[in-house]
């Protein structure tokens, strides 16, 4: 197996709090040493990381990869490569695929495609209920054994509270984490935009912030009783954050994430009917964006994801309400994170924790850290490089980014997965 020595770089490992110039040696797919390299070490590859940052490969907790079922939007090959170019080494894939990821065979198919693509890791998330219908449990243990790290019904809400209770109980029996995206189905089903000034002006049905709050309240009541590990994804409103913080303060095993676009964009971006800003949950108010950023600082929200949803041009072409919701985001996750650091939201180490060790802990992964023995998933990037986000620079097959036209910091020069170089900037693999 290849031995790689990474030298000259500033190593940031949020898991250990390390932030210093150090050398890393990788052997047999794992981190061998961090700090001073062993004497007389023969290596196969030297990476000069001078002036660059060496951090754990990013873990994106919420992506859609187009496979199986919507290969015209994206493929595992296209999106894992786009992810690798953005420093992402693990793409957790939501189960709302066609067919739904509710049987081990679909998870196995994804693993096989990921192997063929030979790039970043694909981590399927299993459906909590069969066909995401919220009625019968899927084979949660079998899915877990087939590599689904956590169970979720993606963007769907389990309407029947008894089914939700049993799903949480059953998963908790086997200590399998459950991921929920809180949205009261009745309050949110007919809406497209945050129920506020812009929706009122445009005459587009709104989704009130209370939709998130109401569903969080119901779920948290169950979690308080069951005490199973529960992660709430894609938070969007300040009211919900307060509820999560209260649950955490009372000792519940609750974590949360935010989609990175929510930290930059607001409802006003939708004011011109631009379908790129058609997102679910919707972009909310400036006050909500402020509260989401504050929740990252105080740790209420520990994970930032891309909520990557690649779409073909036709899906986004039409009057706002007839377009598909969602934005592609794996290309811009790291750069936007660096922008948050530039804007002083948090330091680099705390910021990187939100896309490395924190999601690793939510999903129970051994990646996301640079400690000896851990899998050598590494991202090496130049924080001072800048690039323009354009359809040409996006590597995702999809171009539905709300950040087109933005100038963004950070360029990934090398990405390693299990000690293998899967991306290098100067020589596309």
């Amino acid at each position: 197996m290849t031995r790689i020595r990474i030298h000259g770089g500033r190593v940031i490992d949020p898991a250990s709090g390390r932030d210093e110039l150090a050398e890393i040696v990788v052997a047999d797919g794992r981190i061998l040493t961090v700090g001073e390299p062993p004497n007389d070490l023969a290596v196969d590859l030297e990476i000069d990381a001078t002036g660059q940052i060496v951090c754990p490969g990013l873990i994106d907790l919420a992506t859609r990869l187009g496979e199986p079922g919507t290969e015209h939007k994206a493929t595992i090959a296209s999106e894992t490569r786009a992810g690798a170019a953005g420093g992402i080494t693990t793409l957790a894939c939501l189960p709302d695929t066609y067919p739904v990821m509710d049987t081990p065979s679909v998870a196995e198919l994804m693993h096989r495609r990921a192997q063929e693509a030979d790039s970043a890791r694909v981590l399927p998330l299993g459906a909590l209920t069969l066909d995401l219908a919220g009625e019968r449990l899927s084979e949660i243990v079998a899915l877990h054994q087939a590599g689904c790290a956590a169970m979720t019904d993606a963007g769907r809400t389990i309407r029947d509270t008894l089914v939700l209770q049993r799903a949480l109980e059953y998963a908790a029996t086997f200590e399998i984490p459950v991921l929920l995206t809180p949205a009261d189905p009745w309050l949110s089903q007919a809406g497209y935009l945050h129920d506020g000034i812009v929706a009122t002006r445009l005459g587009i049905p709104g989704i009130p912030a209370t939709a998130e709050l109401a569903e969080l309240g119901r779920s948290l009541a169950l979690v308080a009783d069951i005490q199973g590990r529960t992660h709430f994804g894609r938070l969007s409103a300040h009211q919900g954050i307060e509820l999560i913080a209260r649950a955490q303060n009372s000792g519940l095993p609750v974590t949360a994430d935010v989609a990175i676009h929510q930290l930059f964009l607001t409802e006003t971006d939708c004011a011109e009917f631009d379908a790129r800003f058609h997102l679910q949950p919707p972009l909310r108010s400036i006050a909500d964006r402020k509260a989401l950023r504050a929740a990252l600082i105080d740790g209420t929200i520990g994970v930032i994801c891309s909520d990557h949803q690649p779409h073909d041009p036709d899906a986004k072409n039409g009057p706002f309400t007839s377009t598909a919701s969602g934005a592609c985001g794996v290309d811009t996750l790291l750069s936007l994170l660096l922008r948050l650091v530039e804007e002083g939201v948090f330091g680099l180490c705390q910021g990187l924790a939100c896309v490395t060790i924190n999601p690793a802990r939510v999903l129970g992964l051994e990646t996301g850290r640079l400690t000896p023995g851990a899998p050598a998933d590494v991202c090496i990037f130049d924080p001072d490089a800048v690039w323009w986000c354009t359809p040409e620079t996006l590597r995702s097959q999809a171009k539905n980014s709300p950040f087109l036209g933005w100038e963004l910091p950070g360029r990934v020069n090398y990405t390693l997965v299990a000690g293998r170089l899967i991306h290098r900037h100067d020589d596309p693999l």
């Binding site: 129920d195 009122t200 005459g203 009057p319 706002f320």
Partner: protein, 322 residues
């Protein structure tokens, strides 16, 4: 939205009344005033749009609105084509493909009505540089020609807008008419714009559009100069927005009694078609203060004005139409 103006400030499309300068709105009203003279003559036609093609693209069934647009275009001597997409089968064909096909036929103007908010804006972004788009109603978003004909009717009766108290009554939530009225009347300098409705029929933060909110007809109509009723769709009884039509009529239906606190010379308006006994009592609709049928007549002159201005033909218009 600036997409509807040329860089020199002239109308390129007419999609919404929001953001249009007062001068332009007044120009529309003045131009309409000159066309109103044409309509009163026995030969009701001017040659301003001779050789131009107007396509009425109606994705939502509507007879009255389509007819007034058709009449307006014909009185400007344009060639008019009606495409009723609501009844024509366009299975599998996207809005964009349909548009491209029609554009290939070299139309000068598309009059678009569509059930989705933002549809006219979408069409305007995708037509070629030579074509104009006129919004004949998109979802709950805008119905700007209706708002302009309402403003025209108000000015004919009241002279100006500055001192007027104008009350808009009913289903503001689902109403493109109300949104366009609010923007147009604000820009024209209306003294006070009120909305009167139960909370289930008011969109969130409606105050941000510069209106005063009332839930009580007596308070809301007090000293009103203009009462603008909105149509209540029957399907609003589903989805728990309202209990029943009789209850709605009891609380918000316009009767002579409820009209009492308004000014004695208040006018009553309605964009039609009216639901008698639901939002308005027949005696009021047909009473002396009702200007509902006048609105219909004025709609033709106002649409002629907007069509000719949008196609850049109004400058050539003779002072005294022949």
């Amino acid at each position: 939205m600036s997409t509807q103006l040329h860089t020199d400030g002239r109308l390129r499309h007419f999609l919404t009344t929001e953001g249009l300068p007062r001068q332009l709105l007044l120009q529309i009203l003045d131009t309409a005033e000159s066309f109103a003279g044409v309509i009163d003559k026995s030969v009701k036609k001017v040659p301003l749009l001779r050789g131009r093609t107007v396509i009425n693209l109606f994705f939502e069934a509507s007879t009255r609105t389509r007819i007034t647009f058709e009449l307006a275009a014909k009185r400007l001597s344009a060639d008019v084509l009606n495409v009723n997409v609501a009844t024509t089968s366009v299975k599998g064909e996207s809005l964009l493909d349909m548009l491209r096909n029609l554009e290939a036929m070299q139309a000068d103007m598309f009059v678009v009505r569509h059930a989705e908010s933002g549809a006219a804006d979408y069409v305007a972004r995708h037509v070629g540089p030579g074509a104009s788009v006129l919004n004949a109603g998109d979802g709950r978003h805008a119905h700007p020609t209706q708002a302009m004909l309402d403003a025209f009717t108000i000015r004919r009766h009241k002279g100006s807008f500055e001192s007027l108290i104008i009350a808009i009554v009913g289903d503001v939530m689902h109403s493109r008419v109300a949104r366009s009225q609010i923007h147009a009347l604000s820009a024209l300098g209306a003294g006070e714009i009120r909305v009167i409705a139960p909370r289930t029929l008011l969109p969130r933060d409606i105050e941000s559009l510069g209106v005063r909110v009332f839930h009580d007809m007596r308070l809301g109509l007090e000293e009103a100069d203009v009462v603008m009723m909105l149509r209540l769709q029957r399907e609003r009884m589903q989805g728990a927005l309202l209990p029943s039509e009789p209850e709605y009529f009891r609380v918000y239906g316009l009767t002579e009694d409820k009209l009492a606190p308004a000014k004695p010379d208040a006018i009553v308006m309605h964009p039609g078609p009216i639901n008698r006994g639901v939002e308005i009592d027949s005696r009021v609709a047909e009473g002396p203060r009702s200007v509902i049928l006048e609105q219909v007549t004025n709609g033709i002159a106002v649409r002629m004005a907007i069509m000719s201005m949008t196609l850049g033909a109004y400058q050539e218009m003779p002072r005294e139409p022949a």
